[in-house]
């Protein structure tokens, strides 16, 4: 059968002499090149040429020139929709080429440049391959020091580590501890319907007395140990002893006392709730205790003994949170790491077809974790809740790199390279990229060092070290592994085929859209929406909110909060504006005490306030009880003498937490239950305003302090350090990529694919109300690390493919083809692995896992789509295009029906096209620039002046007329 194209001076005649289901083999006529459509069996096909003996075989598409009589092998592509112009760019018949016997190349034949880094890496790998004992020896020697240090490893779940240590606020807080004692306390809660029976009270009293002897407890506040000032009319006696010091009393007296205690705000609602039949012990802890875990463990074991005696008994407060963290730090790795490891094994084997990558990932993770923890111990950094995440992070980032290494080795083996040559190939193929990814990721983690929070500073050091060690271990081990277990190329796995199918159908389907201008809208919408939601992200350093509701610790916290409350406190410390001592005034002066009592009453009115405790309040209670309990005397007396006489009645234990020994400072404890850092901060601002108004007309000045305040301050530093970290990472990526690819444009182009997941991360956090806390703030660094890793590999691959392929779009297609398997393998397997953390009881860990999984999936989009699209767009813009692109991009049907070519015959249009070149911008060249407005990209047909003579005068006149009519000439 002979086929001829219709019309035009340029015709193609093909002789079909073989046909299969998807391939027609023609013999050519005397045409210089092929374009147009082929009709066969009533179906239309676009045609491209697969092979030419005159061109060096390259991967991808080819341009060529035919000689008459030359045979052409034409591969038929699928039927195309006229609008899907670029789709068929991607339909490279690689299926066919993959089914063929692979080409065997020699290493030196491959166009792989060998820079200094690749050269060094190659030398190391080859040397170690030839001397495997050296690999083993180095691994052992380098393990000795950290292994030795590991015996001293310590764990510190202390909540103090989430605070900023070297700050004026911390110094102020420590001074306040010395003056007024600690605000760290453990709380014991007892409830029972028969609570006030003598037997039960005796048990609790004995327990309170026992606790008074405990070293770690500075003070036990309970109805058995705390002063309860009351006047008992029947005995005409003022009692100051604790409510239940003496239990040998009649039931009537007990009932009277229980009624009386409800008038004492320092006790009722704090240490006892009579209607609720509840007693509370508040154990003020010694502020020199480094960690609250031992006391929490002790109290838990003690409280358990009361389980049979009381319907409810539990411990709550900050010590339980520290204990919970310690337990989670020990338990979480035991649960999640095996799960993650199993998932990785399954995914790697399924997608990559071998366990090579898994084995090396596992080894690199285990060993680098051991080295990092050893060095960390040497630097006196304990295992804390953030450092606990390091093994998981090392696993993620090692897997990302090692999958690329495995892919590279696979290609080497496909070329039948020996193991040594495979290592050389590895060094040349991705050596530079590996080093670059290590640098960007390690520097990225080090940027977290900007944080003022100790726990994050330590984490950044350990994570960075771990990454560097993982790289070293990988480089040292791979040659050894190849010697021990020679690499055998396996046939493609099912997962691999799955990814290729995904690439072929899904990516090709969507790629054209993404390449078009229409894609800008959803992209911008995505960026804008996420930017908006990102502004809604709050910071939260509230340790109470770091525990999942289903954990018993949290249930206890919530129970206590609902029933008693006031677990958190803010301390307003007042002193005198005149600190020279020239004015001899004291807080116990009647005038000053009156001001303080007024303040006490005003602060009590805030709805956020659960309870106020102040020296003025203490005097008011004493005044009332000294006056036979009459309510009208519940106030600070006016008489200085009376105040002095009351003062000598008070014990120092009652006064010390509220008044300094020199009487120049007073502490007002404001108890509340606000749960988020934001709401607490709002309340603190209210308090500050109130106190500013108050101190304006009084001789006082003030400052607010407490662990609450320190937590808020630490929360706020998270934002500033996060911003600094992101900016630094962005700069590092731009600079390093620019240096390595010797192209500033490359560096700048790399920003969007790297920042895309960041937008998504903060957007989803704002949308779902996930706060920025010590757990989630490291996700951004990991995000950029992962995205940068894949972007760098992608860029490296792209730049190489760009040199060998015909056009930027082909290069992007090839790059995607090469990178889709490693990118999807690591991203999907790690996303699945991290999603296991959604079952964690420690909320920052749960959020870290889920956000990391989400970010990994976003990184797939940015790596497989944004990166290649950006690069292609850039280079297409920069370089214009070759004739070959013209065929791909131009919708010829639309073109021919457009106004530009009105009244021109198909042949005339074909001629113009044949003589023209396609460009993406108007250049300063002579000739006709004909815009193609209906195309999905902006394209101009440039007919150079020297080519105009090739057109018939009539054709030229027609086209000029059309352009003039359209004001385009």
């Amino acid at each position: 059968m002979t086929y001829s194209s219709r019309g035009g001076a340029e015709e193609l005649t093909l002789t079909l002499y073989e046909a299969t289901s998807d391939e027609l083999i023609f013999k050519s006529s005397d045409m210089p090149f092929l374009r147009g459509q082929v009709h066969y069996k009533n179906k239309s096909y676009q045609v491209t040429l697969k092979d030419s003996p005159h061109e060096e075989r390259q991967r991808g598409f080819y341009t060529f020139e035919l000689e008459a009589g030359q045979e052409l092998y034409v591969t038929l592509l699928k039927e195309l929709d006229a609008e899907e112009l670029t789709r068929w760019i991607l339909e490279i018949p690689l299926d066919k080429s993959e089914q063929e016997e692979p080409q065997h190349h020699h290493l030196e034949e491959l166009p792989l440049k060998r820079g200094a880094i690749a050269h060094t890496l190659e030398a190391i790998l080859v040397t170690l391959y030839h001397k495997p004992w050296l690999s083993a020896l180095l691994l052992i020697l380098l393990s000795l020091f950290p292994a030795y240090q590991l015996k001293n490893i310590s764990v510190d779940p202390s909540l103090d580590r989430v605070l900023v240590q070297d700050s004026p606020l911390m110094k102020q807080y420590k001074k306040s501890l010395e003056l007024f004692g600690s605000d760290k306390s453990a709380i014991l809660y007892f409830k029972d319907k028969d609570l006030f029976q003598k037997e039960k009270l005796e048990k609790l009293r004995a327990f309170a007395w026992k606790l008074q002897k405990e070293d770690k407890i500075a003070r036990v506040r309970s109805v058995f140990t705390t002063t309860f000032m009351r006047y008992e009319k029947e005995e005409d006696t003022l009692f100051t002893e604790p409510l239940f010091q003496d239990l040998d009393i009649s039931s009537e007296l007990l009932a009277k006392r229980l009624k009386h205690v409800q008038k004492d705000p320092n006790l009722h609602g704090r240490l006892i709730d009579v209607p609720q039949k509840t007693l509370v012990f508040v154990l003020e802890l010694n502020h020199h205790n480094k960690t609250m875990v031992p006391i929490a463990e002790l109290l838990n074991s003690e409280v358990k003994k009361f389980k049979e005696d009381f319907s409810e008994s539990f411990q709550t407060g900050e010590p339980t949170i520290e204990l919970f963290q310690k337990e989670e730090m020990a338990e979480s790795p035991k649960i999640f790491m095996p799960l993650i490891t199993l998932v990785l094994l399954i995914c790697f084997v399924f997608f990559l077809g071998s366990s090579f990558a898994f084995i090396i990932t596992l080894l690199a993770t285990l060993l680098s974790t051991a080295w990092a923890f050893g060095w960390m111990t040497y630097m006196n950094i304990p295992i804390q809740m953030m450092v606990n995440l390091v093994p998981g992070i090392l696993l993620t980032l090692s897997a990302t790199e090692i999958v690329h290494i495995a892919s590279s080795l696979k290609v080497a083996k496909e070329n039948h390279f020996s193991d040594v040559d495979s290592l050389r190939y590895l060094a040349r193929d991705i050596g530079k990229a590996l080093f670059l990814t290590l640098s960007t990721t390690a520097l990225g983690f080090l940027s977290i060092r900007f944080s003022e929070i100790k726990i994050l500073q330590e984490f950044s050091v350990v994570a960075s070290l771990g990454l560097i060690f993982a790289f070293i271990i990988t480089i040292l081990y791979i040659p050894l592994h190849l010697r021990l277990f020679p690499y055998k190329k396996k046939s493609g796995s099912q997962g691999h085929a799955l990814f290729k199918g995904f690439e072929k159908y899904f990516i090709r389907l969507t790629y054209q859209f993404l390449f078009s201008k229409k894609a800008l809208l959803p992209l911008l919408a995505f960026l804008m929406l996420n930017t908006y939601f990102a502004t809604q992200v709050e910071v939260d350093n509230d340790t109470f909110r770091m525990i999942a509701n289903r954990a018993q610790v949290k249930k206890n916290l919530n129970t206590f909060k609902e029933r008693m409350g006031g677990m958190k406190s803010i301390h307003a410390v007042l002193s005198f504006k005149d600190s020279t001592g020239e004015q001899d005034h004291k807080m116990t002066d009647a005038k000053n005490l009156k001001h303080l009592w007024k303040l006490h009453q005003e602060l009590e009115k805030y709805k956020e306030v659960k309870h106020i405790e102040s020296f003025a309040g203490l005097i008011a209670i004493l005044n009332r009880e000294m006056r036979e309990g009459k309510e009208e005397y519940y106030k600070v007396p006016n008489s200085q003498n009376l105040i002095s006489q009351y003062f000598i009645m008070l014990s120092r234990d009652d006064v010390d937490p509220l008044l300094s020994a020199d009487k120049l400072k007073t502490n007002i404890k404001i108890s509340h239950d606000l749960s988020s850092s934001k709401r607490t901060e709002v309340f603190i601002k209210k308090l500050e305003k109130h106190l500013e108004r108050f101190t304006k007309d009084t001789p006082f000045k003030f400052h607010l302090t407490s662990r609450n305040i320190l937590n808020i301050h630490a929360a706020n530093t998270i934002i500033s350090s996060q911003s600094a970290s992101l900016i630094t990472m962005g700069l590092v990526i731009v600079v390093l990529i620019s240096l390595f690819f010797k192209s500033l444009q490359a560096g700048l182009l790399s920003l969007l694919p790297n920042l895309f997941p960041i937008f998504g991360l903060f957007g989803i956090m704002g949308l779902l109300n996930i706060p920025l806390n010590v757990g989630t703030c490291v996700v951004a660094a990991i995000t950029i690390g992962i995205a940068a890793d894949d972007t760098i590999h992608l860029f490296a691959r792209y730049f190489r493919d760009k040199e060998t392929s015909l056009n930027p779009l082909t290069a992007s297609r090839l790059t995607i083809g090469d990178e889709v398997v490693p990118i999807l393998t690591t991203s999907l397997s790690l996303a699945l692995s991290f999603s296991f953390f959604s079952f964690a009881r420690f909320i920052p860990l749960m959020q870290f896992g889920l956000l990391s999984a989400y970010v990994l999936l976003l990184a797939v989009i940015s790596d497989l789509y944004l990166g290649p699209v950006l690069l292609s767009r850039y280079f297409l813009f920069k370089e214009g295009n070759s004739n070959f692109i013209k065929w791909m991009l131009i919708d010829q049907k639309t073109l021919k029906e457009g106004q530009v070519f009105h009244n021109l015959s198909t042949a005339e249009v074909d001629t113009i096209l044949a003589l023209s070149r396609v460009t993406f911008k108007r250049e300063n060249s002579q000739g006709l620039f004909i815009p193609l407005k209906n195309s999905s990209v902006d394209i101009y047909i440039h007919l150079p002046t020297d080519k105009e003579s090739h057109l018939s005068p009539r054709t030229f006149e027609k086209i000029c007329h059309n352009l003039k009519t359209l004001n385009l000439y």
Binding site: Q212, L238, I648, M649, R652, D662
Partner: protein, 275 residues
């Protein structure tokens, strides 16, 4: 109340020995020649007075700020029968607390206390249960001021050593409350006393809190003999790192008659003590 005076260096050595619970070998001359309870009983017998009258100056000094408060106090005490006693004390200065006083009766095992607040002219009966409470802002508790309660403590002689300031040989006596309840009542797990063998006066007492940690130290110095009895004219209570109280006795009378009216409620209520 019995007060004795050690030398500074001996005090330091003793403090080290007592606080570390270790009797320094070079200073330990011999084992005790008497049993602890017997020693303290003998002390009580020898040094007890039927009546006591003192005018004291109390200085309370905060350790950190070094700020001082001074108070003038008058104290009367009487022991009408064995195991019974009455005492009254009141402040003469500063002006803000002038006339504030405390009346205590211990009779037939029952204790009663009344506090007088001159500003509101009220004599208020107060519960005397908290003997471990500090007296009027000083570092002496009510229990400290009662003196040695032989029935509620077990005394064990731990050994002997040279008394402070070359005052002879001293017994090292460990005083422990008889039971947990008493320990909690007074606020101490134990006390270590340095008692002069010859004069049976207490030079020094180290107090240990309920956790067994050293809480405070009392030193009794400037001893004066009045008849057969010895009394210190200066007592220093050092509540380590917190506060110091100095009680200086300016004048004292022992075993002189005191009007019974002084120990009645109306003495304070009618402000006879001020007038």
């Amino acid at each position: 109340m019995e007060f004795f005076m050690p030398s500074l260096s001996a005090s330091l050595i003793l403090s080290f020995c007592l606080s570390s619970g270790f009797l320094c070998a070079p200073l330990q001359a011999a084992k005790c020649d008497k049993e602890g309870n017997a020693i303290m009983k003998e002390q009580d017998k020898r040094q007890s007075a039927k009546t006591e009258e003192e005018k004291q100056k109390i200085v309370i000094q905060d350790v950190k700020s070094k700020k001082k408060e001074e108070r003038d106090l008058v104290r009367f005490g009487i022991k009408p029968k064995e195991n019974d006693s009455r005492s009254v004390l009141y402040f003469n200065s500063p002006a803000t607390i002038k006339g504030a006083g405390l009346l205590s009766w211990k009779e037939q095992g029952e204790e009663n206390q009344w506090l007088y607040i001159p500003e509101i002219k009220k004599l208020q009966r107060i519960a005397s249960g908290s003997r471990k409470e500090y007296f009027m802002g000083t570092d002496f508790t009510y229990a400290d001021l009662e003196g040695e309660n032989l029935k509620k403590n077990n005394y064990t002689c731990q050994g002997e050593m040279a008394c402070p300031n070359k005052q002879g040989q001293c017994y090292i006596i460990e005083a422990k409350p008889i039971n947990e309840s008493e320990s909690r009542n007074i606020g101490y797990s134990k006390r270590m006393l340095l008692v002069n063998k010859d004069k049976l006066i207490t030079h020094k007492i180290v107090f240990f809190d309920l956790k067994g940690a050293k809480l405070k130290t009392a030193e009794y110095v400037q001893w004066e003999q009045i008849g057969k009895l010895w009394r210190p004219n200066l007592a220093i209570m050092d509540r380590h790192g917190v506060q110091k109280t100095f009680i200086k006795v300016n004048s004292r009378k022992l075993n002189k008659p005191i009007d019974d009216l002084v120990f009645e409620k109306r003495f304070l209520e009618k402000e006879m003590h001020i007038k």
